[in-house]
Symmetry: D2
Subunit: 142 residues, 4 copies
């Protein structure tokens, strides 16, 4: 595999939308990637929770990067199924793990965690599964 | 049903994240809602396409609002499955339609369209399906 | 497109499992397919409803055949998301429609209907979305 | 938790469709369930692989039983997303694990394995995620 963690975070930081929401790659190793972002007032919905769209973004992007650890940097998420388990009241940590991969595609799972409202530890806020394809062209990653 | 289109757009505008990405509610009627947003440099990924997370946000939120037309304003998206069909090179129009609803939940479909790269008409860029729940509490919508 | 309805039903009848559950192809035209099956005691779960696995089979196979109308006979369902809306108390009619297709894959939706318990008309019992791939090899359809 | 493994297998055997396909519960403990079935000529599709509908059945039912270990016996699968990774040429082992549960619902993942075509060990043939609800009424399980 050609990408190293710093290169992977550089790819993330080359995505204007990832910079807009303040995402950073906090782990990147064979078969897994972790994307983190802090809660900010402009990422919320009307009741003070992180917007579901932010949670979906985090899961989607963590899936893509995890697949990149086995498929290389030119990848594209083909589909994702996400289940929202509870509202997130703090920052997110999206941890994605490759379930199975061939040369051309990977199935990846992702759990999204947030700090518990109680202040003690983390709780899972969403669980996702996605399929990521290796692409030849420049339409990759994100 | 109690919500009228202006109220629904006011709910959308009360979501800081929806304002951040510049979303607006362009249709809202019994059983359907449409959310639109313009392409902007800070919504892209590294290859100049709209970030998949923005597409997921648009689908997720359109689903939620469409469900709101039949379940009322206190709703929460429980799960979503999204398939990305092609990269979006322009703004998005996410059109969501209720497939079936009971008093407590709705299954909703959503197609996301973008202007064709050729400049002629629109193309579908993603197709989604979601389940939205009516909630009693203040953890609703988004 | 090369397949005609009789050929398509012949493909279905060449699937031993489709014969086991008594499925038949009741519509097959450009962009859509419909698969029907009757309720039978050995297709039920313990409370007298059709087993969810039978509903999933019907949706999965209808999706695959609908995709076959645009991709040709060598196809394979890559993924499916299904939402169960209510228990089915009678036979099923799974109606699948292609949402979008390229030369190599199709995104297809499917609604599964059953006779209403009241005896008046049909009700929707499940809603699904799937991605179907065109394959070169002999691992196709089902 | 009230159910014990023998009771859980008795529930499975009380499903006529599960008996039709020859499923048996091979593990059942707090937070997980495993359902196994043998390949049989009448469970195949036209190319000699296990029919995708059989794989979907196995995943769906394993999810439901795993949820039952934490929610009790009255449960109903609300939705499932399944990705097919490769054709199954032998019997199936569907292993489901609860990701997160509240009093009223559980999110569950399931991997489906089959003996490798090479004869050495198992390969993963499908990966699924589902949401299972606790129900009050008699419309439960399957």
């Amino acid at each position: 595999m050609a990408i190293i963690p710093e290169q992977a975070d550089a790819v993330l930081q080359s995505q204007p939308f990832s910079r807009l929401v303040g995402a950073r790659l906090t782990r990147f190793e064979e078969g897994m990637a972790e994307l983190s972002l802090d809660a900010r007032p402009d990422l919320l919905q009307q009741n003070g929770f992180l917007h579901g769209g932010v949670v979906a973004y985090a899961a989607d992007n963590a899936l893509t990067f995890a697949a990149g650890t086995v498929l290389g940097p030119q990848v594209l998420t083909a589909s994702m199924a996400i289940t929202y388990l509870r509202p997130a009241t703090a920052g997110l940590r999206a941890q994605a793990t490759v379930v199975s991969a061939t040369r051309s595609q990977a199935v990846v799972r992702c759990e999204v965690y947030s700090a518990a409202a109680s202040g003690e530890g983390e709780v899972i806020v969403a669980s996702a599964q996605g399929t990521v394809l290796r692409v030849e062209r420049d339409s990759a990653a994100g």
